[in-house]
Amino acid sequence: MIYQASAVGSIALDLLNQNNHMRVHSIFNNGFNIVNESNDLIFVGTTKNGYFPFGVTIDKNTMHYAKEFLSVGHIVKVSQRGIDHKDFMIMLNQTDLVKYDKVEAGDTTAIKKVVIDFDFEKFNDSDFYPEKMSEILDALADENSSFPLKYLVGRGSGLTPSGDDMITGILYVDALDPFISEVHKNSLASYLSETVTTIVSENFIKLALKGIFSSKITALGENPSKEAVEALVALGSSSGHDTLYGIYMTLNRR
């Protein structure tokens, strides 16, 4: 079978260029992950998950049939032309390249305004209750505190545990309006290398540390609106909501 991808993130394209082979790491209903030897990851999946910097977007039909042939551990050939599995190909020749630029410092007032209307009540009784989050955020600004993100990394269910999505949100606000002490960013990078969360989450946070975020997040800064908030919340089963909570708590920190 030959299938067409509809979009490819710039990070994914770089990985496809730099590697010859990648391994099928995991398979879900909406997509699958391939990794290289250093565990750099490409997520191949349907648009339901939004465009990822390390994502290749395929349609539902492609995923439905690709799944028939995929197994964890399969080796695929990769190049800028696409992904070449022994039983099917995903071609990139008619694909939109989605570029991801580093988020530059900017004003957060408008984002704060649109985010504040959103309902975050469900977090009050969770592991991520507001006081706990405030405590973490305070500590992040203080270079002498002990590594505060340990509590959040890998906490929660799913492909990207909730705590990790919140970290992405926190890092997004930090990219716009830096407040986190360098010490803690370095600790986060080295803590991640100890396999403390899922490989997908790990890749998200690593990129966030470099100032690169998925388009649904950056859309919020580029066009702060109710629609942008709603699009972010719709991401994944709870990922978008968790990310937004991270953003909200950070913008409203003491």
Binding site: S71, G73, K86, M91, V153, G154, G158
Partner: protein
Amino acid sequence: MLYTIIKGNTYQDSIVLMLLSQKLSAMEGVNKASVMMGTPANKDIFKGSGLGTPELEDASANDIVIVIDTDDESKVDEVDQEVETELAGGSGSDDSQKSSEAHNWKRALELANNPNLALISIPGTYAAMEAENALRNGLHVFMFSDNVPKEDEVRLKELAHEKGLFVMGPDCGTGIIHSVPLAFTNTVAQGDIGVVGASGTGIQEVTTIVDRMGKGVTNAIGTGGRDLSTEVGAITMLDSIKALNQDPKVKVITVISKPPAKEVQEKVESVLRSIDKPVVALFLGAKPEYQEDAIYHAYTLEEAAVASVQLSNGETVDFKPSIIEGLSVDFDANQKGIKAYYSGGTLASEAAMMIRHSLGEEEVKDEGFTYKSTSHEVIDLGDDMYTQGKPHPMIDPEKRIEKLETSADSEDTAVIMLDNVIGYGSHADMASELAPTIKRITDKAKSEERSLVVLATVVGTDKDAQGYDKQRQILEEAGAVLCDTNDQMVRTAIELVGGKVEQPILETKNFDKGSEDLSVDEKMMSLISNNPSVINIGLKSFTEAVENSGAEVVQFNWRPVAGGDEKLMKVLQFLNNYEGENV
């Protein structure tokens, strides 16, 4: 007592894991259960909630961990089973390399045991090339693939006819060859009715009604929708009719098609008039104008099925259409509309025809509608227009759910119709996918004291994996009114909005017996008289049906040569088949 299950390198969306936690906790004999990724932070959560175990330390961040608190050790296996089933939806189990899989023609032909049929479902651009390769290797061809150019179809069918082979398709969704179901097909009892049809769901509707009436169909040969066009000239249909005529096990021949071009219809009827077996013909879309001794002309799919059964029983055809009686409705003055959302194209065409012939509203031509007028609409959601980048509506309920919701909210809607085509290739439980929406819209109408009738019909048999009765029951419990056939459903809908479908009353006309050559190639007879030995090129899921019915199949995991470069592929194809001029 705490038990730990670790599923290495496995993921699921968080919602799936949360639902799974709830489901496991609700199991009888389980005090508590939790499912999470094995990250250090989550291990702390396990410990904090009294579910800490020493085994937890073995789990890594990329594993799914399940901790169960139960006093009954046997529950652990049960939980494990449940988890496996739930996770199977995502990360497929690994049984990839079966010995009977090939990557090229040579290997496929080696692995197969006297193969005589290629089942092709690769993209249309490449399907014609592989069909030609199959024919040159002496195989009959069943082409599920669509988007094959018409000139290729003509060329392939001429080549096939010359070689004494069948080309079923392209765009052939359904077929039964010697009781082996191909592609989207129901499991139907064997029997003495032979079917040949140019429409997929038309064949499914007729063969399943025949089955439910206690008779059977051993061969239902699909021709593809363009076989009866002027250019193709019904090559496959004519060969199929002749083959069914030669088969001593066939007592009645049933032919289903859209109304073809006049000269093609004459050609087909001339062959039909030459044979001695009773024939039922349905050119769906037109009202038959006469009856004749040799051919029973039917108006609807159900009529064709009933006529076939009666003829096979040696009876005179006597079709009595029916409707669902006793539905009490009180529509508002502006509630006049029938809205139909089909997954089966031929069923949609049948509904469109019956509404067109009986309700007399002016038809509005609109792409995307099988029928549209001021009050009514019939949509085939399997049409290319709705399936771009999406699985077919027989697999994916999304589009239908959307349509059900919007039409139920529309003030002019009186009756909604839908089909549920089960069998191989279809969704494992479409009724349960549609049921919540049906329930919601019927409940809502009730609460607003508004009459709204949802009619549904299930196309299938009790031998289909989804279960005919079970699918009906689920839809019925959700609030739908179940009809036995599409014919019954459409007649019921039309009567509910104040119309009536008139069954044509016909004079019998006399024709001279035809004198066509009825001989067929031995290879064609062999195909319909024995279990086929199949090479499946493309969708792996099609092998299941073939295997389950006891026939042999080799999976050909096709991939394009020349890296998918179409031009280069055509050059190679030409070179491979170039025979040169003999001097």
